[in-house]
């Protein structure tokens, strides 16, 4: 059953066409071009232990559906599409006999298909030409293009603030000043949490900066904010934390270099915003994120502000495309931000353990009420 289901779901993106075709060709034989989805090219990637070759190796820019299958490969179980160091899309856990897919809208450029553990791990993949503009209103297209450029600036600006805020934190750790370090922890994280989905696209960087203890195989390899958080709050000591602090500085510096190279698509802004809210629901409201310091509400606010910033850039275009959705999302953002106001205490938030189960349930419901319509935005702003 799971496999049948997988097959059915994998085919969702192209199904409308077949239904439509069946109706309009009725009895006539269909030419092979009928079986190609409108605009969406399909690239097949077969996982083998030697490597994984995309077929075809070159496609025209636009929506592309990647179908990945593993018939026999035992050493390889995933395929990633990379542009430089950025993971554009991936499918994991494909053991022999399984298949999966992901869909992306790609612009022209050089990409690589990356299959970890294969004999040849990376194979080139080329996207040629340029995608046809999907929006008939040039003003909308311009607004969306403008939004992506502004989001790039926003991300760069927030990462610029992340560096000194992190330094304040790590300096205190290196100086052995426990109180100062504790005080600087949440403010430094704030800038990271605002742009986390962007950081997550850079492979190991996010785990290095933000992994929690249960994310790592070996606790000795654990680095980043939460490793230091455990030291400060649970072990109540900065002993042994200086090297971790220094690595954290290096990692956020690396992040700054990498974000300067990233370009975004409007749908990525919207889906990234939804991801931020999923982060809120899955790890902040549960209290898992900052389990030693209980500063979860600061991260909560940062995630929501990061999502709102992305949304606000899309808003002018969305107003034209779907004003009802736009105003709904705008109101729900306000409702979520209102819902955490009562927990604000000066510049910070109350210790999260003070928030009762009933209050957490209300917070989850507010976040769900926002994330659901927000998840509809990406489809509206796809160029």
């Amino acid at each position: 059953m799971p496999r049948i289901m997988r097959t059915a779901l994998r085919s969702l993106p192209v199904l409308v066409l077949v239904t439509g075709m069946a109706a309009c060709t009725d009895g006539k034989s269909s030419s092979s071009s009928d079986s190609v989805a409108p605009g969406a090219a399909t690239v097949t990637i077969t996982l083998t232990d030697d490597g994984c070759t995309p077929s075809p190796a070159t496609v025209t820019a636009g929506p592309i559906n990647f179908e990945i299958k593993n018939s026999t490969a035992t050493k390889v179980s995933e395929a990633e599409l990379l542009r430089g160091d950025t993971i554009m899309g991936e499918k994991e856990n494909l053991t022999p006999g399984l298949s999966g897919s992901f869909s992306l809208k790609l612009e022209a450029g050089k990409y690589q298909v990356y299959c970890p553990n294969a004999k040849t791990e990376k194979v080139d993949f080329t996207v040629s030409g340029s995608a046809a503009a999907g929006s008939s209103d040039p003003a909308v297209a311009t607004a969306l293009t403008g939004a992506t450029a502004k989001y790039q600036q926003y991300v760069a600006a927030e990462v610029d603030k992340l560096l000194p805020a992190t330094k304040t934190f790590t300096d205190a750790v290196r100086a052995g000043n426990l109180d100062a370090a504790k005080k600087a922890f949440a403010p430094a994280r704030y800038y990271y949490e605002e742009v986390e989905p962007v950081a997550e696209s850079f492979g190991d960087l996010d785990p290095d900066i933000d992994a929690r203890i249960d994310d790592v195989d070996n606790v000795a390899d654990w680095t980043g904010f939460h490793r230091i958080e455990k030291g400060l709050w649970e072990d109540r000591s900065t002993k042994g934390l200086a090297p971790i602090a220094t690595k954290l500085d290096q990692d956020v510096a690396k992040l700054k270099t990498l974000v300067a190279t990233v370009k975004f698509q409007p749908a990525q802004l919207a889906n990234g915003a939804t991801e931020l809210l999923n982060e809120v629901a899955s790890s902040k409201i549960t209290g898992e994120e900052d389990r030693y310091s209980h500063t979860d509400l600061s991260d909560f606010e940062a995630n929501v502000i990061g999502a709102q910033s992305a949304f606000q850039l899309l808003q002018p275009a969305l107003e034209k495309i779907d004003p009802t959705l736009s105003s709904n999302v705008r109101q729900q953002f306000a409702a979520v931000l209102d819902s955490i106001k009562p927990y604000k205490k000066g510049d910070t938030y109350v210790d999260y353990t003070k928030v009762t189960e009933d209050q957490r349930r209300v917070l989850t419901q507010k976040v769900d009420a926002l994330a659901e319509p927000l998840s509809q935005v990406a489809a509206k702003v796809t160029l």
């Binding site: 059915a8 709904n328 509809q376």
Partner: protein
């Protein structure tokens, strides 16, 4: 698009085939020829389906609270829900776009490839919906009076009542769950789910031609349920008629839900003749203790050789029988449930999710339950832990109409 879920699956396979062999034209054909599935209950009609419908195997029940006070938003929600319920009952996907790669699909997908499974989706309106938030205070029927506290009630407020309820029943548990899940999703921002209960096996039948399903105590309870094919009985006991002062509810009914926890471990230790005395029935055959077969009328006057009633005075069946309640009857439509086990005691958490339909709970469920709560021998082994009362509007006749539209007229 209105692809049937099965057609959707076939179509999906066709495309997958097209990728390798270009056979789409041939493989897509079965979809055109696919007949309407036999296990489909019509959503549209003068009455809501799911009341007179013969009970399906599985239940997914959910209660929802409005988080808005906007009357227009409530109306919009009911329209959206009606359209989605109609589609799901027809074995179609939730309306909307399920194909854009950059967006989450409108349908959550777990029922793709499954037949309708006789799915019915039935809505009810709780007393709190008429509290004034939506300008509906004047539309509250007198019979939608809050249920009183009954002796021994251990009702948990967090899993009781609610502004709206949805009873989704199907022969496939995934299809039933898919319904309450997708309605919750469509309602996000307008409603939150207040509580929810799954039932894994029907515990009522709607026809004497059918064997009565057993409850988790191993007994056939409710063998003399109203036969839903009997229109006179349905009009007399179940459907709200012209006697109701609220015209919008005529053709509807009242749903009472009670989560009845069974003290399974204690019951299983009770000796057979006592178990039979508690119900007033023979355990294996289901017949009354006075003999015959399961659907036969009991003889409440019969005495044993020592002059004691054969069916004890506190037997569940004697107390509930219509002969002993001035002809009072309800339509039972409950399901066995389990929520696993109690982590504190290690005992099973299971029982009966009792559902009953009636035309006026003030004259039906309430007096009956008062009597049972005070006298029933069964009370030693059960506990009512959740409760809900809802007014179920009449059916939706056409695809332009929606649940409860008369409330907004």
């Amino acid at each position: 698009m209105k692809a049937s879920r099965r057609g959707f699956l076939l179509g999906g396979v066709a495309v997958a085939g097209a990728g390798v062999g270009g056979l789409a034209g041939h493989i897509a054909e079965p979809e055109r020829a696919a007949p309407a599935p036999a296990d489909r209950v019509s959503f549209y009609g003068a009455r809501q389906a799911g009341i007179a419908t013969p009970p399906q195997q599985r239940l997914a029940f959910a209660a929802y609270d409005l988080v808005t006070t906007d009357r227009a938003a409530l109306r919009e929600l009911l329209k959206t829900w009606t359209a989605a319920a109609a589609a799901m009952c027809a074995g179609q996907m939730v309306p909307g776009d399920s194909t854009t790669p950059a967006a989450p699909p409108a349908d959550t997908g777990e029922a793709v490839g499954l037949s309708p499974g006789n799915l019915t989706v039935t809505i009810g309106f709780g007393p709190s919906l008429f509290d004034g938030r939506f300008g509906l205070a004047g539309k509250r029927p007198a019979a939608l009076a809050d249920l009183p506290h009954f002796p021994k009630d251990q009702i948990e407020a967090a899993s009781s009542n609610g502004d709206l309820c949805i009873q989704a029943c199907a022969d496939d548990p995934v299809v039933a769950f898919h319904a309450i899940r997708n309605l919750a999703r469509l309602g996000r921002g307008t409603v939150t789910m207040r509580w929810s209960q799954l039932g894994f096996g029907k515990a009522a039948s709607a026809s004497a031609a059918e064997e009565t399903p057993r409850n988790l105590m191993g007994f056939k309870d409710g063998t003399r349920n109203i036969e839903t094919a009997d229109n006179d009985l349905m009009d007399q006991h179940v459907w709200v008629g012209s006697e109701g002062e609220q015209a919008w509810l005529r053709g509807g009914s009242y749903l009472v839900a009670r989560k009845v926890r069974m003290k399974i471990e204690a019951w299983d230790r009770d000796y057979l003749s006592d178990q039979e005395a508690v119900f007033g029935r023979t355990k294996v055959s289901g017949a009354p203790l006075t003999g015959g077969k399961e659907h036969d009328d009991p003889n409440f006057a019969a005495k044993d050789s020592s002059g004691r009633p054969v069916i004890p005075m506190d037997a569940h069946m004697r107390l509930a029988a219509h002969e002993n309640n001035g002809g009072l009857r309800i339509l039972r439509r409950g399901y066995s449930y389990t929520d696993g086990m109690f982590s504190d005691s290690g005992e099973l958490d299971a029982g009966l999710f009792f559902i009953a339909y009636q035309k006026d709970p003030r004259n039906q469920f309430v007096p009956l339950q008062r009597k049972l709560a005070a006298n029933d021998a069964l009370n030693e082994y059960i506990e009512h832990v959740a409760s809900g009362l809802y007014a179920c509007p009449p059916g939706v006749s056409t695809s332009g109409d929606f649940w409860g539209s008369a409330l907004f007229a």
